[in-house]
């Protein structure tokens, strides 16, 4: 299993540009999440999904959109990029009831800079 994969690893956008951050998991997990992490801060939930076709807002959804057409993929769309969206973005999926409890698997992150 590759786990949770994210592309691209790095991206620089100009103000007003749009892009899609890709996230794929091969573990057949129903729950998937998008977070952003600013320097020295914890993770803020942007959007999450409990299954294909079902998404909901987290703490900081403004400026972002998501879709979930398959179990495996959960892309995050940025429309009209702004400097405030400069951050590291993490995608995660969850398996319930592991040896140490519900376990959230994270991808390696996408580092986005908006200039």
């Amino acid at each position: 299993n590759a786990g949770v994969t994210q592309t691209p690893k790095f991206r620089i956008l100009k103000i007003g540009q749009s892009m899609t951050l890709q996230c794929t998991q091969d573990m057949n997990h129903n729950y998937m999440y998008w977070y952003r992490q600013d320097p020295g801060m914890g993770l803020k939930l942007i959007y999450y999904s409990v299954g294909a076709g079902i998404t909901d807002k987290g703490e900081v959804p403004n400026g972002y959109n998501v879709s979930r057409s398959t179990t495996e993929d959960f892309p995050l769309r940025l429309e009209l990029a702004a400097p405030s969206q400069t951050s590291v973005y993490f995608c995660a999926s969850i398996i319930a009831g592991g040896k140490f409890g519900d376990e959230q698997f994270f991808g390696p992150g996408t580092r986005l800079t908006v200039l």
């Binding site: 949770v4 729950y31 999440y33 977070y35 020295g40 801060m41 914890g42 993770l43 803020k44 939930l45 999450y48 409990v50 909901d56 987290g58 703490e59 993490f90 995660a92 140490f100 409890g101 519900d102 376990e103 959230q104 698997f105 994270f106 991808g107 390696p108 992150g109």
Partner: protein, 111 residues
Amino acid sequence: EDQVTQSPEALRLQEGESSSLNCSYTVSGLRGLFWYRQDPGKGPEFLFTLYSAGEEKEKERLKATLTKKESFLHITAPKPEDSATYLCAVQADSGTYKYIFGTGTRLKVLA
């Protein structure tokens, strides 16, 4: 409003010097409290989930405990490779499946 506060923000220990990290939380009803380790430039790595007050879980030099208001991550005889940021998160039992994260404790273990 659900909230998670971690302390201290940063901690420097000598190798072998045991200590504890704190995670205090305010949530309407707790479904689970989660501990993660994060190395620089990487995604968080799951450590433990605790579900009810009094519960404890242990892995190598790490032990997590839970009360009704806070959780502790005890690190016994730490090694330099334990240096990382440790994140705490809670999930409310409201059925929303959302996680609220604290800002983390940056741990540095000196050889």
